[in-house]
């Protein structure tokens, strides 16, 4: 009997065999930006056969790759068009070689074009995918000199933030540890800073971000909820640029320079929080501190091979409950490299290899009690290839990860637990894009992962279908489904949602595997010239979710139970862009339920199994963004509404005696403080809403350009509850009205 592993390897070998079609020739290449050598996605490539004038066209993919197959041996006129760039044209003689390649660097056009974001946003999106570019980040008011990915994400339907601190994002029901964040191919475990507006990714360093809220393809594995694939900018290959900014929240520096003109460059970004000091000026002190540094070196060769290495570090520390409570801290250190290139004389069109080491540690502690800590070191290498098989496109690759996970959870009132484990996984994936006719495509995929000694192998099938009923750009119906496994889990005590500590460990019970099954169906529709509409429904079925054991005693428990769950919902987005004005309306509906059986539920509730809405179940989320840019003046507002999170309501409090060691000493002892709890998560916290506003004016000075921005967080000073600590009965609020002025200057 052929095993699944053998089948996969055989399939890969079979598919990578050269496809022999003697008369046909192939033309492929990479289109990139001259300034940075960054690939340009969705560039239009037009090929006109000279003898008979026949025209063929295609667009570049995320790697800037294009490919024509089955071309006749002839001379061709070759055109590349990309909005904002000069059109590139050339005459190609494809009569000699079977495989031909041309790599084009595009030069930015000097002519002023009125380009709106939607026109530039790429239309070819996968189910569940959101494409984010630097300009998107700038449009969300952020109390710093630059826009930031963290602020932007919170304005997206389907993305739920626990609050304005802690850096915890829940995506379509998935917990933060179920989200995979990749930076140029390397994992970053917690890229969001302790103040929720900021992350490792200011707009200056981001080339593009692909957020897959579910239904992602076989290339991504090891996480069950979402993928955030961040591509960093390359430094400028010809010009030296810099900027610096200052606001009450953060100071930032950005610098890019060519190392060897036209070939290699360096980009450096550093950020540090100021809010701990400057919050003296505001009504409430903010004991929050963070900083992050990022450096990237890129090299581009004329042969279409680009290599880069990057290193980053983040540090966060602070209290989520300002008045008392625990200190949280976390650190990321990543160093990684990537090489990619187009092949000139093989049937493999494009290949990239990623390698690197990611380290993450986090800690929770207080002055009086011993803390808990957890860390992960992950080294990875993966090889990804693209190949055309006739009209089909095959993406496939192999990967190996070695992870050393460690946790030491004192639990404070219960016995200490600690563990250190080495965890190795290897595997491969393959994804086919099969066009059926002009307007329909099928993308089946598989991912196979084997785990050294620990778990059984994972076989994860994926399928995506898309249909453009009328062949119009941007008009698409799509569905996606897949099975996702996560053997390495992050355990957090989310009973009160106000936490930022995650203990990373392999699933303690090796017979269990955190599993999620996704189903997505969506519709994207342009409505005239200025309006775009998209709606996507989703359903996820989850099993073996680690959750905290419920207790009525005021203590932090580290005991684990398991839950199964399901989530369904819909994200709707309406986007208006007209000249300088834009407005975006986003609405997300979500319904989530966990079901868990815990030993004491029979006595507590009379039923051994309990269903409940977990604490991140936000039923409704509404976001309205609007703004304009006229000349050098911009104004943006962002209003967010979220219905209340579930929480467990106390009926009251008492102190109890257990009688375990004899009659109680009521005259000499207070007893054990106890919360008399209602059923878990039956109550709802108040709804959340907040408006952030900003206006900015750019000034061009003799040597530098300066942007002065004024704005306010929580402009109408609404008292938003961050979380309610059921054991200490403390209400912890989010930021109150905080006006700010920021200044950014530099050579941009």
């Amino acid at each position: 009997m052929i095993s699944k592993k053998t089948f996969l390897v055989s399939s890969l070998l079979f598919l990578t065999l050269p496809v022999i079609q003697a008369q046909d020739v192939t033309l492929r290449g990479v289109i990139s930006d001259r300034q940075s050598a960054s690939p340009l996605e969705a560039a239009n490539i037009i090929l006109q056969r000279i003898p008979d004038g026949k025209i063929e066209g295609t667009t570049t993919d995320i790697n800037g790759l294009f490919e024509f197959n089955r071309l006749q041996r002839a001379e061709y006129i070759f055109l590349v068009r990309y909005i904002g760039y000069k059109t590139y044209s050339d005459t190609l003689d494809l009569r000699e070689s079977r495989y031909n390649s041309i790599n084009v660097v595009m030069i930015i056009s000097e002519e002023k074009e009125e380009v709106t974001v939607t026109e530039r946003r790429l239309e070819d999106l996968d189910p569940g995918q959101t494409r984010i570019q630097g300009i998107d980040l700038r449009r969300v008011p952020t109390p710093g000199g630059s826009g930031d990915l963290a602020s932007f994400l919170q304005s997206q339907p389907g993305v739920v933030a626990a609050g304005d601190r802690g850096g915890q994002l829940f995506i379509r029901g998935g917990t933060p540890s179920e989200n995979l964040v990749l930076v140029d191919g390397a994992t970053v475990y917690q890229p969001f800073h302790i103040i929720g507006f900021f992350s490792l990714f200011p707009e200056d360093v981001v080339s593009k971000v692909d957020l897959y809220a579910g239904g992602f393809g076989a290339r991504y594995s090891g996480r069950t909820s979402s993928v955030m694939d961040v591509r960093l900018k390359n430094g400028n290959l010809y010009n030296r640029n810099w900027s610096a900014s200052l606001s009450p929240f953060i100071s930032e520096l950005f610098f890019e320079t060519p190392i060897k003109e036209g070939e290699s460059s360096l980009m450096v970004s550093a950020r540090g929080s100021l809010i701990e000091s400057t919050s003296k000026l505001y009504p409430e002190r903010q004991p929050l501190r963070f900083n992050s540094q990022l450096i990237k070196y890129s090299n581009s060769s004329n042969q279409g091979v680009n290599c880069s290495i990057h290193a980053l570090r983040t540090y966060d520390r602070g209290k989520l409950n300002y008045k008392s409570g625990d200190f949280f801290s976390w650190t990321n250190v990543v160093t990684a490299g990537r090489c990619s290139g187009v092949s000139e004389d093989s049937n493999i069109s494009f290949a990239d290899v990623n390698f690197g080491v990611s380290y993450f540690s986090n800690e929770i502690g207080s002055l009086n009690l011993r803390g808990s800590s957890s860390s992960v070191i992950k080294s990875h290498i993966d090889l990804n290839m693209v190949q055309s098989i006739g009209e089909w496109r095959l993406d496939y690759g192999i990967f190996t990860n070695l992870e050393n996970v460690n946790h030491d959870i004192s639990g404070r009132f219960v016995s200490m637990q600690s563990d250190r484990q080495l965890f190795m996984s290897s595997g491969g994936y393959a994804e086919l894009d099969i066009p059926v006719g002009e307007n329909f495509s099928i993308e089946p995929g598989i991912s196979l992962t084997t785990y050294l000694r620990k778990f059984k192998s994972s076989f994860e099938p994926r399928l995506r279908l898309s249909w453009q009923p009328r062949g119009k750009i941007g008009e698409e119906l799509h569905v996606a489904t897949g099975i996702y496994y996560q053997p390495l889990i992050g355990v957090s005590d989310f009973r009160d949602i106000g936490t930022a500590f995650t203990a990373w460990m392999p699933m303690p019970d090796t017979n269990r595997k955190l599993t999620s099954k996704h189903a997505i169906a969506g519709w994207r529709q342009p409505l005239g010239r200025f309006l775009k509409f998209s709606a996507e429904g989703y359903y996820k079925e989850m099993s073996n979710i680690p959750v905290s054991v419920w207790s009525s005693v005021a203590q932090f428990s580290t005991d684990l139970a398991y839950a199964n769950g399901e989530v369904f919902g819909a994200d709707v987005r309406l986007e208006f862009n007209h000249r300088q004005f834009y407005a975006i309306l986003g609405y997300g509906y979500s319904w989530m339920e966990y079901e868990t059986a815990q030993d004491h539920f029979g006595i507590w509730f009379g039923e051994p199994v309990q269903s409940y809405h977990p604490p991140h179940d936000r039923r409704h989320q509404l976001n309205i963004q609007a703004g304009f840019e006229v000349g050098n003046f911009t104004a943006n507002i962002n209003w967010m509404y979220g219905s209340g999170f579930p929480f467990t309501q106390p009926l009251g409090f008492d102190s109890y005696f257990s009688f375990l060691e004899g009659p109680p000493n009521i005259k000499g002892e207070f007893g054990n403080p106890r919360v008399l709890l209602d059923k878990p998560f039956e109550g709802r916290l108040p709804d959340f809403h907040r408006m952030d506003v900003s206006v900015a004016q750019e000034f061009t000075l003799p040597l530098i350009t300066m942007i002065v921005q004024a704005g306010a967080v929580n402009a109408y000073d609404w008292e938003n509850l961050f979380y309610y600590d059921v054991y200490t009965q403390r209400q912890i609020n989010q930021l109150s009205f905080m006006p700010y002025i920021s200044i950014k200057f530099g050579s941009f």
Partner: protein
């Protein structure tokens, strides 16, 4: 022209802002506590057949984890003998623990009768009533204890008819030169009784090793020696089949109606072997 465009857009944005403000101008009051109709009072304690004063803890189910700032209580706690309906109102007594924390304990000077049932009820007009029915155990004969201070051991013999829940020697020990270095060491003898549901018993013991271990040093001084024997009626909870989480649940171990807690009937015998000696600070 540009200024006109900016003005137009600002008006539009202003309209959006005002709309958002109107939408959001609703009440944000948050009351985390759920209306509690299940538990009126938390009641803990024991009624001791051989004591002349009975004590129970009665606290209204609170709105704070650690109650502070006590106000005069109007809770009435009554002890009633079920067989004849004779009731006594218990006296309140405020106990403070560690700063602001406080509790109300209630006491009454009264001798109780063996094998009879008593009710302890707590009542407050606005809150309602909670109550517990307590069954008293049989009389516990005073055990015979022969103790040698030299060997910190001896023999015990006696008999009992209800569940034996405590059989132990309690020491008050000074384990350092300072008077602050004192603690209680308890050595249980329950393991030496095979049938704890009743009968005669006799056993010998030697507490030197547990005392040395408990004191943590060789040069300790025993300041007091007491022998405790307690039996309990059928009210006494059987906890062996409950896990740590279950023990803490308000309904898992409770005999209080319309409330939570546990009040049981016990028979306690305390034999003073050597009285408490004053502490000697030898620094």
């Amino acid at each position: 022209m540009v200024l006109l465009t900016i003005k137009k857009h600002i008006i539009l944005l202003g309209f959006v802002c005002i709309s958002m403000f109107i939408i959001s101008s609703c009440d944000s009051h948050f009351d985390p506590l759920k209306e509690n109709e299940r538990y009126a009072f938390s009641m803990y304690g024991t009624l001791d057949l051989h004591a002349d004063t009975q004590w129970v803890r009665v606290m209204p189910i609170g709105e704070k984890l650690i109650p502070d700032d006590p106000e005069p209580t109007d809770v009435q706690v009554t002890l009633t003998r079920v067989s004849n309906g004779e009731s006594i109102v218990m006296n309140d007594s405020l106990f403070r623990f560690g700063g602001d924390g406080y509790v109300w304990n209630y006491w009454v000077s009264s001798s109780l009768h063996p094998n009879e049932q008593y009710t302890v009820t707590a009542e407050e007009p606005e809150r309602g009533q909670s109550g517990s029915v307590v069954t008293m155990p049989s009389v516990l004969p005073v055990p015979e204890v022969e103790y040698s201070i030299d060997t910190e051991g001896g023999t015990v013999s006696g008999s009992f008819t209800d569940s034996l829940i405590v059989l132990e020697t309690r020491y008050w020990v000074q384990f350092g030169p300072s008077c602050a270095q004192q603690k209680q060491i308890i050595v249980s003898h329950l393991e030496q009784i095979n049938d704890r549901s009743g009968g005669d018993f006799h056993f010998s013991f030697d507490n030197r090793i547990p005392l040395r271990t408990g004191a943590g040093v060789a040069g300790y001084m025993v300041k007091e020696r007491m022998f405790f024997m307690i039996t309990a009626s059928k009210d006494w909870p059987y906890l062996a089949n409950l896990n740590d989480e279950e023990v803490t649940l308000p309904d898992a171990v409770s005999n209080v109606e319309n409330g939570t807690g546990l009040i049981t009937g016990i028979a306690q015998r305390i034999i003073e072997i050597t009285p408490r000696q004053p502490c000697i600070d030898v620094r």
